[in-house]
Symmetry: C2
Subunit: 344 residues, 2 copies
């Protein structure tokens, strides 16, 4: 009942381990007769190579590591899906870790993956990440490395992103085009590059349309939760009763806003229009249906793995690899929550 090994097959056939190994890997210097004998016996014994030994010998594990801030998250679970599918298609397995938006945990997990000697690492940074030392370590060890979505701009690695500035600008422009003028922004935390970029996009859109930027219309999430959406919606109506549009950093927050407005009877979009970001599934089934920005999450996963694979292949053959940055397309999805105002 034990696991079959090359040695066992060799002994039963009265040949050497070397020949058995070669026969199974279809080397040209094994006669057809022995090849057949070996293959047939291997099948019979249900032989499969001991991957631990193969890993040690070949110095690769055909396994990659993936670190993301949150698994239970429409965007990230879609990315996971893309990565896992593409990886499997190419013979790789994926170890998933969740940083819980904690820099400390993220660092531990990078160390963990390095120790495990994964063949490559894909990461989307936590909101706390303002320190690059663990990423530098990955680079220093020459481990193939791809960042996506929430990236450290200054780290010289491949990246898969969207153009958050333009995407956000388009979202706000959509509000403006539909007649909304006094637009609040519920932004993400101060650290992450994409929260910064979306904020910049928000300002740009105002600027282009000659709407003065009012800092008091900007509200900053700490955790980017549904509850914060509710809280800020309340706050906004208290601070600025005449606001007529809200652009939220992500759909989850926008849904909080919607939920609060629905509960207290504020009409959307008649009184306030709302647009989110990321096109979460639920946004299309809410009342009113939420306008948002579509972000190709699954494709982001697939592309990230493809880039990593390229680098891993170069790494194996010891040919140099130049990191690339790929920018994927987004588009505004107009739904009920931003219907054109009647008076225009």
């Amino acid at each position: 009942m034990k696991e079959a090994t090359l040695k066992e097959i060799a002994e039963k056939l009265g040949i050497s381990i070397t020949t058995v190994s070669k026969a199974l890997k279809d080397y040209p210097d094994v006669s057809l007769k022995t090849k057949e004998a070996v293959i047939s016996l291997a099948k019979e014994l249900n032989y499969s190579p001991n991957s631990f030994a193969v890993n040690l010998r070949t110095k690769e594990s055909k396994t990659i590591g993936l670190i993301i801030p949150e698994i239970v998250h429409h965007f990230f679970s879609n990315v996971i899906n893309g990565i896992v599918a593409e990886a499997e298609k190419n013979g790789y397995l994926v170890i998933i870790l969740q940083s819980n938006e904690s820099l400390e945990l993220e660092k531990k997990q990078v160390a963990l993956l390095i120790n495990k000697r994964v063949d490559g690492i894909i990461i989307s940074l936590s909101n706390e990440s303002n320190d690059d030392s663990h990423l530098m370590e990955i680079i220093a060890r020459k481990i193939p490395f791809v960042q996506f979505d929430k990236i450290a701009k200054l780290i010289h690695s491949s990246k898969v992103v969207i153009n958050d500035q333009i995407a956000a600008r388009n979202a706000v422009q959509h509000l403006i085009d539909n007649g909304y003028r006094k637009i609040a922004h519920i932004r993400g935390p101060l650290n992450p590059q994409n929260a910064i970029d979306r904020f910049i996009g928000y300002k740009k859109a105002l600027e282009i349309n000659n709407i003065p930027f009012d800092p008091s219309l900007v509200y900053t999430c700490e955790k980017v939760t549904f509850q914060e959406g509710i809280d800020f919606a309340k706050q906004i109506m208290a601070d600025h009763p005449d606001v007529d549009g809200i652009f939220a950093i992500t759909d989850l927050v926008a849904v909080g806003v919607l939920s609060y407005f629905n509960d207290i009877g504020i009409k959307i979009p008649e009184q306030v229009a709302v647009i989110g970001f990321s096109n979460w599934f639920m946004s299309q089934v809410l009342t009113p249906k939420l306008s948002t920005v579509d972000q190709p999450s699954h494709e982001m996963g697939v592309t990230s793995f493809k880039l990593l694979l390229e680098e891993m292949n170069c790494h194996k053959k010891e040919i140099p690899f130049s990191p690339r940055t790929i920018e994927l397309e987004t588009k505004v999805i107009a739904r009920e929550s931003t219907f054109k105002k009647n008076n225009i």
Copy 2:
């Protein structure tokens, strides 16, 4: 710039590999002096044991495999989260695979994990799974094994489940208690045990309340999608315009129903009450808010890993392990979509 090894440390210190290994693992037969010297040099060289070699030597990889039907799914992503968190807490990493509800893929993936020699396997079966041979293989190889949610009853392994019959019965009882009598059921596919059990629970509830069971009120999903919810809602209203309640196999389908009714102006719950299953996040933000059955998904993940860990520990020490089945509690979450009828 190369990876430090025991050999290197030994040579630099003029001692044997054995002693270095022992020093790092705090064996009692190494003098304090050499221990300190070794540890300090190891730190300096940034030594970390080559996990490939450790795996080969110890025959374990501190890695488990997880196969689920769908990653982008509120219930499953919560389970993943629970498993990954609990695993990491105990020094294990998790390889995730998605069967896409395909038996064929599921079988391949089990084979993959066996070949990778993971220390244990956790699985929730695909809807197609009506063949146990791949699961038998896991048992035959004595690989620690836990099933959760969608299980093969006859396979002798640990299991983590809810009581689907009772949970479904409670959901339907809730509808009946609130005055609904003609209740349709949108059930899951014919194969999965939990779809069968929920259907049985539905029938039981009717029986207890002396409501005759009408097979034409039962609709069977193939893929359990949002779209099927829409389609069946339409179908139900065509077939039985006087239906006043719907129990759906899962929230996603219930949301489809809600969405269709909202679109065509059928009032919920005044005309038809709707209850789902699983308590997906979005169900609380819909209009109307969806009643459902809470299923402790995160806890299900945590519990699954704990059971697996127990078995892995026994396996290592070669002491026998008896598989256990753990049943977690569910409870009906009453929201707007099933408000009590006025006339009772």
